[in-house]
Subunit: 312 residues, 2 copies
């Protein structure tokens, strides 16, 4: 199916793996290509369990260098080598990421046979870059180490070409119709015709925002603005709210405040503490839903599909 | 149950994890304490899946520094920190191991709150050391990087004290009987009495030998001598035998030759290539069993119990 965009929540836990939740990693899947957000220990296996080929990962966006977000990277890189990858791979993340990749490679003596590009993003400024059909924005969140939030904004899709209107305006079949569809103004029999005269309005691209490991902050709010999907740190329920500030994490209620403030369409509670099971799952969810009803408490390998222009 | 000794085959695969096999790690469990052999990506989760507490791991023996044997170590160490471990942990392995642990800690900025002792073993000599009730011997195997095999030889258990014989010899109840049980020679009414006069012969300790990632070699043969359980590299079946030498691995037939030559009691085929599933499992197993019938082709989380003095 074309134009399909979905997210697979590979690992929804935090800090240490449990029998029910793996460590943080998330796959954004669009037209068979995968962007990975974080690469915790176990991520390469989670991809297989999700039916996703690790070879389709073209880009990895690392939030920060705490072990529970990066310790799967060495294994991912070496397995790709083993399976004969030739396609390039780009990894974005905070300063220190290139050293981590280099040092691990030095010790375990692996050499990659595919192009690997490690791009360190300056945490103190807003970065903008393009990944496939997405305009990506990253900003430093508020954690105990530099931690990047990422906003993935898909390109708009041109609206439908209206054949009836084009016929009525006397536009001949041929290249001029193509020009209008490409956004070019044309002239027919001395009359100026604008693309909007024959095209439906563009269909907005979808927005996914990934903000793990953070206190509620302005950067998260800005990144999350009008997102179709906001994945936000919700390590604790209200019962453990006193632990959120000293550990630089958020409660689910605080995540919901960001989602509401940013007018996001859907919130995924993320980076769930090992305590979050049984009734505590319900606590986390209901506390968020009081402020932001369209909140999901996820489980590993859940898939979330996003429709264009379809706020739920 | 006292005197119980068993091995849990946490990860029976090689190089990259698959849906059916995890990467190499093996737990030796004796009286609630665990020795871990290798610590691949995913090992901490495998321990949980096996119902074993990672906190019970007191010793880790690393074979070599290839990623598929050590990339679970950083996560294991940091998770133990998170769960408030205070007990010390000792890790044995080849030179470079301490650098690996230090460098990963530097990048991801973790500080361990429990005593960690990294002991680098010189690969070119035979090392001998004591771990719990085991006398451990390590030797360099034959792989593309220094790779240690480990032999774990449990202490002998004293034979049963024979009350009837003791009575007949006129040994009074009290400390002298205890002395005999501790191996001390005593004198009763001017007559010398040796422990063997009243004690059944000692019951031999069990021997487990772990030789992963190696060509067949003398070191493996020596380590495996009279083992109750030999875990030996069997990456390939005969069909891929031409790949064994250049990659410094063994076929299952070669593993069986070592087991037979060393007069081991049981062989576990280990470090199984990702190709080993379906009929290829049967090939691997039957090719080994032609030479060494008591061979097991394992699956992840299999448990192997060892009886004292019970050759199967």
């Amino acid at each position: 199916m074309t134009d399909q965009l979905y997210v697979v929540l590979l690992g929804t836990g935090a800090a240490a793996p449990s029998l029910s939740r793996g460590l943080p990693a998330l796959a954004i899947v669009r037209e068979g290509k995968i962007i990975l957000c974080d690469c915790a220990e176990g991520t390469q296996l989670k991809l297989l369990q999700a039916g996703l080929s690790p070879a389709k990962v073209q880009t990895i966006c690392i939030s920060h260098l705490h072990g529970d977000h990066i310790f799967g990277l060495p294994g991912f890189l070496t397995s790709q080598q083993l399976f004969g990858r030739t396609a390039s791979l780009t990894i974005y993340g905070p300063p220190g990421l290139a050293d981590f990749v280099d040092m691990v490679a030095t010790i375990s003596k692996y050499e990659l046979g595919y192009p690997l590009d490690v791009v360190e993003l300056e945490p103190d400024v807003t970065s903008e870059f393009k990944v496939q059909e997405f305009q990506v924005t990253s900003k430093n969140l508020r954690h105990s180490s530099p931690c990047l939030g990422y906003r993935f904004h898909e390109s708009n899709k041109p609206g439908k070409f209206d054949e009836v209107k084009a016929d009525a305006l006397g536009i001949p079949f041929g290249p001029q119709r193509g020009q209008l569809q490409s956004g070019v103004v044309i002239t027919v029999a001395g009359k100026t015709i604008y693309p909007c005269d024959v095209m439906a309005p563009p269909i907005a691209g979808r927005i996914i925002t990934y903000c793990t490991d953070t206190r509620p902050c302005t950067a998260a709010l800005e990144l999350a603005r009008q997102s179709d999907l906001l994945i936000h740190d919700s390590t604790f329920s209200d019962a453990y709210a006193d632990r959120a500030a000293p550990t630089f994490h958020s409660t689910s209620r605080e995540a919901a405040e960001i989602a509401a403030g940013a007018q996001a369409k859907k919130l995924i509670l993320w980076h769930l503490s090992i305590r979050v099971h049984g009734e505590e799952e319900l606590n986390l969810l209901t506390q968020a839903q009081q402020l932001f009803p369209n909140t999901v408490l996820p489980h590993d390998l859940d898939e979330i599909y996003l429709r264009r222009g379809a706020g739920e």
